[in-house]
C-alpha cells in the first residue's frame, strides 16, 4: 500500500494531537478534579480543626470568641451541610475496670439537623472530623460539606478542558496541514519534476523557497537537471555535428561519384565511339582485303571480256573478209565462234557484276541484321577465293596449297551471311598471314597449306579452317579472343578480328568458336553453327 509523505506527516501530527487532546480532555480534568477534591477536603479538614481548636479554647478558657469566628467563617460556606460537636464520654464500669465510649451529638448546625456519628465521605458529601480534648470534655467536631460546588467546578474544568482540547486539536490539525503541505509540497514538486526529467523533459525546474534540507535538495536537483541538460545538449550538438559532417561527406562523395560517373560516361562514350570507329576501321580493313580479291576477281572476267572482245573484233574483221570472198562455210564457222565468245563475254560480265554486287553487299553488312537461308559451302568457298586473291594481291610471289572438303549434305542454314562471311574472311586472312610469315622464314620443304572443310553434325554445322603455320604460343592462346590483342606490328592489325568473330558466332548465332593449336605445326579454328538459332 502506498502512503504519501503528506498522509504520513498528517497521520503523525494527528496521532500527536490526539494524544494531547486525550491528555487535555481526560487526564488533565481528572487530575484537576482530584486535586480540587483533595484541596477541598483539606480545607474542610482545616475548618473542622479550627472549630475544634475554638471549641477547646472556649471550653478551657471560657473564651468563645474564636469558636464564634470559626463558626461564622464555616457558615459562610454555602455548601455546608452540617457542623456537629460530638461529645465522647468515657464511661467506666462500677469496679472501674473497664470502660466504654459513649458518643453523643451535643450540638449541630443547622438546627434540627440530625445524622449518624458514623456518616462518611461519599460522592455527594465530604465529612471531616477534628478531635479536641479538654478537662471538661473530649470530643470531635464533624463537618459535612456538599460536593456540589466541586462537581460544578469539575464540570467547568471539563468544559474548559473540552474547549482547550478542541482548540489544541484544531490548532494541531492546522499545524499538521501546514507542515504536511510545507514538507510534502516541495517533495511532491520534486517527484513531479523527477518524473518529467525521466520522461525526457529537461526544462523542468523545482521552485522551492523552503530554507531546509528539502530546499537544498531542490537546489541540488535543479543543478543536476541543468548538468544533465548541458550534457545532453552537448551530446546532441556533437551528434548534430557528426550528422552534418556525415551529410556533407555524403554530399561530397555523391558529387565525386557523380563526377566520376559522368567522367566514366564520357570516357565510355569516347570508348564506344572509338570502338565504333575501330569497328568501322576493321570493316574498312577487311574491305581492303576484299578489294584486293575483288580486283583480281573482276580483273579475271574483265580480261576475259577484253580478250574475247579483242578476239571478236579480229573475228569480225575476218568475217568481213570472208563475206566479201563469199566463203559461206567459213562465215558460218566465224559466226559460231563469235557467238561462243559472246557467250563467254556475257558470262564473265555477269560474273563481274555478281562480284561488284557482293562487294556492295559486304560494305552494307550489319545494316539489315536479317538472317537468311544461306548455302554455307558456297559462302565459304567464295570467301576462300577472295581471301587467297587478297593475299596474292599483296604479295605476288605468294603461293599456297588450298584444300577444300565440303559436306554437300549440309543444305541451307539460316544465318547472317555477310557476318559469317566476315568471320570466315578473318580466320582465312589470319591463316594466310601466318603461313606467309612462315614461308618468308625460308624453311626448306615448306608448302603453305590452307584447308577448309564443312561438316554436318547432329544439330549444327562445323566449319574448320586449318593452316600449317607456326601455331599460337601457349602464353597468348587465352588472349587471342580479347579485343585489341594483336601480335602484328603496329599499324598492321587492330586485334579486333577474332574478338568480332567470336561475338558474331557466339552472340549473333548462338554457336561456338574454338581453337586447336600446336606450336610450330599449325592451327585449327572451328566454327560451330546451330541449325536453329
Amino acid at each position: 500500500m502506498f502512503i504519501g509523505v503528506k498522509t504520513k506527516i498528517l497521520l503523525t501530527v494527528l496521532a500527536i494531537v490526539l494524544l494531547f487532546t486525550i491528555f487535555s480532555f481526560y487526564y488533565f480534568p481528572a487530575q484537576q478534579g482530584k486535586t480540587l477534591l483533595t484541596n477541598y477536603k483539606s480545607e474542610v479538614q482545616n475548618q473542622a480543626k479550627t472549630i475544634a481548636l475554638g471549641a477547646s479554647i472556649a471550653l478551657s478558657e471560657q473564651n468563645f470568641k474564636g469558636l464564634k469566628t470559626a463558626m461564622d467563617f464555616v457558615k459562610e460556606n454555602e455548601e455546608l451541610k452540617f457542623v456537629s460537636l460530638i461529645q465522647k464520654d468515657t464511661v467506666w464500669n462500677d469496679g472501674h475496670t473497664d470502660f466504654s465510649i459513649e458518643e453523643n451529638i451535643l450540638s449541630s448546625f443547622p438546627e434540627n439537623h440530625s445524622h449518624q456519628t458514623d456518616i462518611a465521605t461519599n460522592d455527594s458529601i465530604i465529612v471531616m472530623k477534628a478531635p479536641f480534648s479538654t478537662d471538661i470534655m473530649n470530643g470531635e467536631i464533624m463537618l459535612g460539606v456538599s460536593t456540589d460546588s466541586i462537581n460544578v467546578r469539575k464540570r467547568k474544568i471539563r468544559f474548559t478542558a473540552l474547549l482547550i482540547s478542541t482548540a489544541i486539536f484544531l490548532v494541531g490539525m492546522l499545524i499538521g496541514l501546514w507542515l504536511s503541505r510545507n514538507i510534502s509540497h516541495p517533495v511532491l514538486a520534486l517527484r513531479k519534476a523527477a518524473k518529467r526529467v525521466g520522461e525526457g523533459d529537461l526544462t523542468s525546474e523545482v521552485k522551492s523557497s523552503s530554507k531546509d534540507e528539502i530546499g537544498e535538495l531542490a537546489i541540488a536537483f535543479n543543478n543536476m537537471v541543468k548538468d544533465i541538460k548541458k550534457l545532453s545538449d552537448l551530446t546532441l550538438h556533437q551528434e548534430k555535428e557528426k550528422q552534418q559532417l556525415l551529410a556533407s561527406q555524403n554530399e561530397a562523395l555523391e558529387k565525386q561519384v557523380e563526377e566520376r560517373t559522368s567522367e566514366l560516361r564520357k570516357s565510355l562514350e569516347k570508348l564506344q565511339s572509338a570502338q565504333a570507329q575501330l569497328v568501322q576501321a576493321e570493316k574498312m580493313a577487311s574491305l581492303g582485303e576484299l578489294t584486293a580479291g575483288i580486283a583480281h576477281e573482276i580483273q579475271n572476267p574483265l580480261n576475259f571480256v577484253n580478250n574475247f572482245s579483242d578476239l571478236n573484233t579480229e573475228l569480225l574483221d575476218e568475217l568481213q573478209e570472208e563475206l566479201q570472198k563469199g566463203n559461206t562455210e567459213d562465215v558460218q564457222q566465224l559466226i559460231k565462234d563469235l557467238r561462243e565468245n559472246e557467250t563467254k563475254i556475257v558470262f564473265h560480265g555477269k560474273r563481274a557484276d555478281t562480284i561488284v554486287k557482293n562487294m556492295l553487299q559486304h560494305s552494307r553488312s550489319n545494316s539489315s541484321g536479317i538472317k537468311e537461308e544461306t548455302d554455307i559451302n558456297a559462302l565459304v568457298d567464295e570467301y576462300l577465293r577472295l581471301a587467297y586473291h587478297g593475299q596474292r594481291a599483296k604479295n605476288k610471289s605468294f603461293n599456297a596449297i588450298l584444300k577444300t572438303d565440303y559436306d554437300e549434305s549440309i543444305g541451307k542454314i539460316n544465318i547472317l551471311s555477310q557476318d559469317i562471311g566476315r568471320v570466315v574472311l578473318n580466320l582465312l586472312t589470319n591463316a594466310f598471314y601466318i603461313v606467309n610469315e612462315k614461308k618468308e622464314m625460308n624453311i626448306s620443304q615448306y608448302d603453305p597449306t590452307i584447308s577448309v572443310s564443312t561438316k554436318r553434325k547432329d544439330n549444327f554445322v562445323e566449319i574448320r579452317i586449318s593452316d600449317n603455320g607456326n601455331g599460337i604460343p601457349e602464353k597468348i592462346v587465352d588472349k587471342i579472343f580479347q579485343p585489341f590483342f594483336t601480335t602484328k606490328p603496329t599499324g598492321q592489325g587492330t586485334g579486333l578480328g577474332l574478338s568480332l568473330s567470336y561475338d558474331i558466332i557466339v552472340k549473333g548465332h548462338g554457336g561456338n568458336l574454338s581453337v586447336n593449336t600446336k606450336e610450330g605445326e599449325g592451327t585449327d579454328f572451328i566454327i560451330q553453327l546451330p541449325y536453329k538459332s
Binding site: A58, Q87, L106
Partner: protein, 144 residues
C-alpha cells in the same frame, strides 16, 4: 494542655464550694432594662433571650467562672458546675443563634466592656466604679 489541667480542676472545685460573693448586675444604657426579676435574669443568662425590648442584641458579660465571682455566678444564677455551663454555652454558640458570654478576669474590665458595648449586661461582684452604666436591679435589689 496538661499545664492547665491541675489549675482547672482546682478552680472548678473552688467554683463549687465558694459561692458566697454578692453579685451585682450592671447594664449598658442602650437596651438593657432598669430592673429584672431573678427568673428573667436566669433566662437571659441561659441565652434564651436574643434581643432587648428595643431590638438591641443581648450581649452577656460574666466574671470568669474560676474567679470567686464566677463561682457565685455558677451557683446563684445557673445552679450548675462551671463545666456544665461551659458545655451549655459551647452548644449554644455552635448553633450561633445567641453569642456566648464574654468572660472577664477583673470587675473593672467587665464594667469597662459593659459601658462600651450596646445591649451588654454584666454580672460581677464588688462595687460599681463607673457612672456610665446603670445598675440593674434584680428583684428590686442592687446585689444578691
Amino acid at each position: 494542655m496538661k499545664k492547665f489541667v491541675l489549675p482547672f480542676l482546682f478552680f472548678i472545685s473552688i467554683c463549687s464550694y465558694s459561692q458566697n460573693s454578692p453579685l451585682t448586675v450592671i447594664g449598658n444604657n442602650n437596651g438593657v432594662p432598669e430592673q429584672l426579676s431573678m427568673v428573667a435574669l436566669k433566662s437571659v443568662m441561659n441565652g434564651n433571650q436574643a434581643k432587648w425590648s428595643n431590638g438591641q442584641k443581648v450581649v452577656i458579660a460574666l466574671m470568669k467562672l474560676t474567679t470567686d465571682a464566677g463561682k457565685s455566678i455558677c451557683s446563684k444564677i445557673y445552679g450548675k458546675t462551671a463545666a456544665e455551663i461551659t458545655k451549655h454555652w459551647l452548644m449554644v454558640s455552635m448553633k450561633g443563634a445567641i453569642d456566648a458570654p464574654v468572660f472577664f478576669n477583673t470587675a473593672a474590665d467587665l464594667q469597662n466592656f459593659v459601658v462600651k458595648t450596646s445591649g451588654a449586661i454584666g454580672v460581677f461582684s464588688g462595687s460599681v466604679t463607673t457612672s456610665s452604666a446603670k445598675t440593674v436591679l434584680i428583684d428590686g435589689k442592687n446585689t444578691f
